[in-house]
Amino acid sequence: MTVYAAPGTEGAIASFRPRYDHWIGGEYVPPANGQYFENPTPVTGRTFTEVARGDADDIDRALDAAHGAAPAWGRTSVTERAIILNKIADRMEEHLEELAVVETWENGKPVRETLNADMPLAIDHFRYFAGAIRAQEGSISEIDGDTIAYHFHEPLGVVGQIIPWNFPILMAVWKLAPALAAGNAVVLKPAEQTPTSILFLMELIADLLPPGVVNVVNGFGAEAGKPLASSSRIRKIAFTGETTTGRLIMQYASQNIIPVTLELGGKSPNLFFSDVAAARDDFYDKALEGFTMFALNQGEVCTCPSRALIQSDIYRDFLADAVARTEAIKQGNPLDTDTMIGAQASNDQLEKILSYFDIGRAEGAKVLTGGHRAELEGDLAGGYYVTPTIFEGKNEMRIFQEEIFGPVVAVTEFADFDDAIKIANDTLYGLGAGVWSRSGSDAYRAGRAIEAGRVWTNNYHAYPAAAAFGGYKGSGVGRENHRMMLDHYQQTKNLLVSYSPNKLGFF
């Protein structure tokens, strides 16, 4: 067990600046309007730094820097770009522990997750796209003996990216790595709840990237996000967040005729078929862990397995074991490596979760465990903590249909395969799903029948590079985490070449 010292206190392995400006053109640039906003840590609720409050002027300056850098960056060889991405990965690896502590302080998540998941995945993501861009090839089509169509990949130019707060560094890297590999320059706006850790990373890798290739402007969505998303000077906008803002971003994009990629969340079903309980063995134990994954990252994951569907004949026993597993979750100081669940990212997030406890109870759902705010002691008393919660109810209830984004799972039972698929697909979303069965063919059929972009089969919440991630239905447009993401950041240039000396004969 290790308890890391809070950043800025004695013995801490990382500390923050008292104030952060925008990162534009490879250096810190104060906001044009001179304004800053406070950044509290969810761990204690207390402010630890202040951050530039950007607006349209700052976005313009960042776009200037990006447009200045984009042509040369787009002409670098893929070898050079891959070397730079690998160097970024190496630098992050050398500072993994610092980055993990910084990310935990910023977001409230347990340090065991940032040490073992967020940072290793972010590092690997740069390496994956360093490899992917080297291996990417254009294509030719032989139209006829004398006519050839050549297809080249070209960068889009300058792109905008709006990052969520649930995995501030990892989600930024999911978008940055393919965009940079493909030769684009980026203007990135972090979430206003988590504006700092990305700047910590930018400082760490400042000497590795040419100035202006990545620019970070912080601020509120209405003041900084909107001018970025609606700018006529970006060639693409990528967004992870919720549906209304997703639609709004598409509306802005339509005005400039640019592509969007959107990742807009889900209400992911996690299906447990009867044969899961055929033995009390390692697999059964793994399935119980799979159920409990709803509490990973405090439930603040777009693919949180927030609907557990359990076959009727094992329902009572499996659910009793699942409740016991959930009650064994250790909540506490996120900087303690033994802590399994930390703080919700913000006060309004906490309030929203509590409001869903009200509506869940009002609709008649039964609380099997949790259902309240967790009151922690000492420094943590001001933090935003929720006890992991299991509701039992029906799929038409709002707690089964809406993304609560907290450590809350809604459980119901199903009779047979068809019933399971019907319930699983009775949702507006289709981002993730889980299927648990000892039968390979049942699991396969269920996975193919569920309308979701990612179906974890006998596992959950793994996010390796090379496994495509993205949504069906209301969950968005596009795929991340896979080399196909390069296509989202590239133009196709076709040269259609005639090698024939003969005219067509039309004129």
Partner: protein, 135 residues
């Protein structure tokens, strides 16, 4: 949470689907001074989702995919409240009250820079209300 500012409905007419708390209404007065006429669109999905988004009226284009839930009467002006039609199918049995809490993130919603966040409080319609709404 403070009391609804919305007056009660006349007997026999369908109940309002949306209401607003005093605190949220006071905030809307200040926001309107700054941004002009306003609108709400109820969001779904992750991160800041499942929350009401407040925009300058018309900034978010609504269409056949949306349901107009009602208009909040605030002093001398009204604020329309919208929700996507698909989401409404799952929400229609609940009455919604727009409240405000201290907070931070809000997508592009205009209140975030004030250090507050609009929040939806829900209750089930009573059987009597539901009868009138279904008519």
């Amino acid at each position: 949470m403070s009391d609804d500012v919305r007056p009660g409905q006349a007997a026999g007419s369908p109940p309002a689907r949306v209401a607003v708390t005093d605190d949220a209404a006071a905030l809307l007065v200040r926001l309107r001074d700054k941004h002009g006429d306003l609108m709400f669109h109820q969001s779904g999905g992750c991160c800041d989702g499942s929350s009401p988004m407040c925009y300058p009226d018309g900034d978010f284009i609504t269409g056949d995919a949306d349901v107009h839930l009602g208009d909040l009467a605030i002093d001398s002006f009204t604020v329309p409240v919208w929700m996507s039609r698909s989401q409404f199918e799952y929400w229609k049995h609940t009455h919604l009250t727009i409240d405000v809490v201290p907070g931070r993130g809000a997508g592009f919603s205009v209140e975030a820079p004030e250090g507050v966040r609009f929040l939806i409080r829900s209750r089930l319609f009573t059987d009597d209300e539901w009868e009138l709404l279904r008519d």
